[in-house]
């Protein structure tokens, strides 16, 4: 189980109605079902992963979040979770808007491209960074819109959504991100976790 799942779970109230966008094999869904008694649905693009979810008894719709979120009416869910996939969408802005239309709140996690290892990788090797959380080569990566924690904070001001809570994951430890430590967290955070609202 990914370390951020516990953190995501802590951000969600008990019995909440939740949509997990890009729910993968349903690990987070199961965790939220057990720990938060969440009424949880998933949307997943991979047929194999959908099959795994069905085998776990989870309610999942095969679909592409970029196009298929529009089928949900406004405020269908209390929380919509988007785990480490924002960077893979053609139009992240549309996706964020859709998340916040479909859900009252959204939890978005992003692998931080501002992490020092990524920076050093590019600085010294002069090639596109390959790290544990970003294992792909530039030509076969699904991550076409990488951003940093700082970029995401700026993004919130540009397209106008509220960041309710922002957390950084460093060596499996979670810490708050605020204005005064943003530069530091942007350098050391492996993952940014944001609870956002319209």
């Amino acid at each position: 189980m990914k370390p951020e799942y516990k953190i995501i779970s802590d951000l969600i109230e008990k019995d909440a109605k939740v949509l997990d966008v890009g729910c993968d094999d349903g690990t987070l869904m199961e965790f939220l079902k057990t720990n938060k008694n969440a009424n949880i649905r998933g949307i997943e693009i991979s047929k194999e992963k959908v099959q795994i979810c069905i085998a776990k008894g989870l309610t999942v719709i095969e679909g592409n979040a970029e196009f298929d979120l529009k089928q949900f009416p406004n405020d269908s869910f209390e929380y919509v979770v988007l785990g480490q996939t924002l960077q893979a969408f053609i139009n992240p802005e549309t996706v964020i808007r859709e998340l916040l239309r479909v859900g009252n709140k959204a939890i978005v996690t992003i692998p931080n491209f501002g992490h020092w290892k990524v920076r050093l990788n590019l600085l010294f090797k002069g090639t596109m960074p390959i790290t544990n959380s970003l294992p792909h080569d530039w030509y076969n990566t699904p991550n076409i819109h990488m951003c940093t924690i700082k970029d995401f904070v700026r993004f919130s001001k540009i397209i106008n959504f509220k960041i309710f809570k922002s957390l950084a994951l460093i060596n499996e430890n979670v810490s708050d991100i605020n204005n005064s430590n943003l530069i530091f967290k942007n350098l050391f955070g492996e993952l940014g976790i944001f609870l956002i609202e319209k």
Binding site: Q51, I54, A55, K56, T59
Partner: protein, 374 residues
């Protein structure tokens, strides 16, 4: 027609007002069951058959002596596990396997109905079958399941009886029969009507059958159940028991021979007038129109858990039409899962050995059944 032995029949006494305006009562509804109903009566699954199916879902069909139409999916240890669930399937009204249909005698005229039989709809079929619940003393079905026309019946059933099933599995179907599908059905009906033997539907009194017309109808329909890729891989341009073309109109190609065979075996088991009536029922099916253009309203009162399944190579009931149902369900916050199964076998995929499909069906049912609080 075959001698119909071993057919269980419920005589429905309660009057049923059909969509066409006529009311029928004391009519036969032929059914079959598999497995056993538990003490809680919470393990019943009502299976709806497709256009040319019947109540003999699995095992050997006692009339045709062939495997039941859903033998891959239904049986001991299978997706719809008869060791666990009590499976009920009825022959649709308008059909020809014992349920009230055009080959029955009209009590008023003492003649076979033929085309005097009332036009029936998917709604009528479902309203006839609801009587099986009372008959077995079942308050709520565990599931309603069906593919193609069976899937349409699932949708209509939930719409009519929102609290009568815990889960619903419409497979490879649509909420509104498309122009293309109406066109194919019309082709089949016109093939039957063009057979001189059809005699405007009165062939029974003359002891003849419009077998050629019905066979052509079946051949044309059969093509629509397959995919181009599937046909190409299975038959290609392979020749039928010959080394070269014969420069004539015999079945040179295996595909021709195959279709002729499919046509010929079909006429032995199916009634031409039933084919007309059932295809008509499919064409009239438009759940969207029934709810004034808003399909979601058909499902707004149900708490049933849905699982919708489509197939990549099904061009008769393509994924998008199945997804439209998912969208309508999501619009009312229904509990709905959806998967599109990869298969080259076309619309027929749901009837065949498609492991991903069979696995998904089994997992959904078994996991849902384990959730007792559903």
């Amino acid at each position: 027609m075959n001698i119909k032995q071993n057919i269980k029949t419920l005589i429905v006494e309660k009057p049923l007002k059909l969509d066409c305006g006529q009311t029928i009562n004391n009519f036969p509804l032929a059914y079959e069951t598999y497995g056993s109903l538990n003490n809680e009566k919470d393990n019943a699954i009502l299976v709806f058959h497709a256009l040319t199916g019947d109540q003999f879902v699995t095992g050997i069909n006692p009339v045709t002596k062939k495997d039941g139409w859903w033998s891959y999916a239904v049986g001991s240890g299978k997706s719809i596990d008869t060791d666990k669930y009590f499976v009920i399937c009825a022959n649709v009204i308008g059909g020809c396997m014992g349920s009230f249909g055009p080959s029955h005698e009209n009590p008023k005229t003492k003649k076979i109905y033929g085309t005097d039989f009332p036009v029936i709809t998917i709604n009528d079929m479902v309203n006839a079958q609801i009587n099986l619940l009372d008959f077995f003393g079942i308050k709520k079905l565990f599931s309603v399941v069906g593919g193609s026309m069976g899937g349409m019946q699932v949708l209509q059933f939930i719409s009519n009886y929102p609290d009568k099933a815990k889960t619903a599995i419409p497979i490879a179907c649509t909420s509104s029969h498309s122009a293309q599908n109406i066109a194919f059905n019309e082709l089949g009906r016109q093939a039957i009507a063009a057979d001189h033997n059809w005699s405007d539907g009165d062939y029974n009194s003359k002891n003849i059958v419009p077998d050629k017309g019905l066979a052509v109808a079946r051949m044309a329909a059969h093509i629509t159940y397959l995919s181009k890729k599937g046909l190409q891989e299975k038959f290609g341009r392979k020749l039928q028991e010959r080394d070269d073309l014969k420069f004539g109109f015999d079945a040179d190609f295996q595909i021709e021979s195959y279709l002729r065979y499919q046509g010929s075996v079909f006429v032995d088991r199916f009634d031409a007038n039933s084919y007309l009536y059932i295809t008509r029922a499919m064409d009239y099916f438009d759940l969207v129109k029934q709810f004034n253009g808003n399909l979601s309203d058909a499902f707004k009162n149900t708490k049933a858990k849905f699982f919708i399944i489509s197939f990549t190579s099904d061009w008769l009931y393509p994924t998008q039409e199945n997804k439209d149902i998912v969208i309508a369900l999501n619009a009312v916050g229904a509990n709905v899962g959806f998967v599109e199964i990869e298969s080259d076998k076309g619309h027929d995929s749901f009837l065949l050995n498609v492991p991903d499909f069979l696995k998904a069906l089994k997992n959904f049912l078994d996991k849902s059944y384990a959730e007792k609080n559903l």
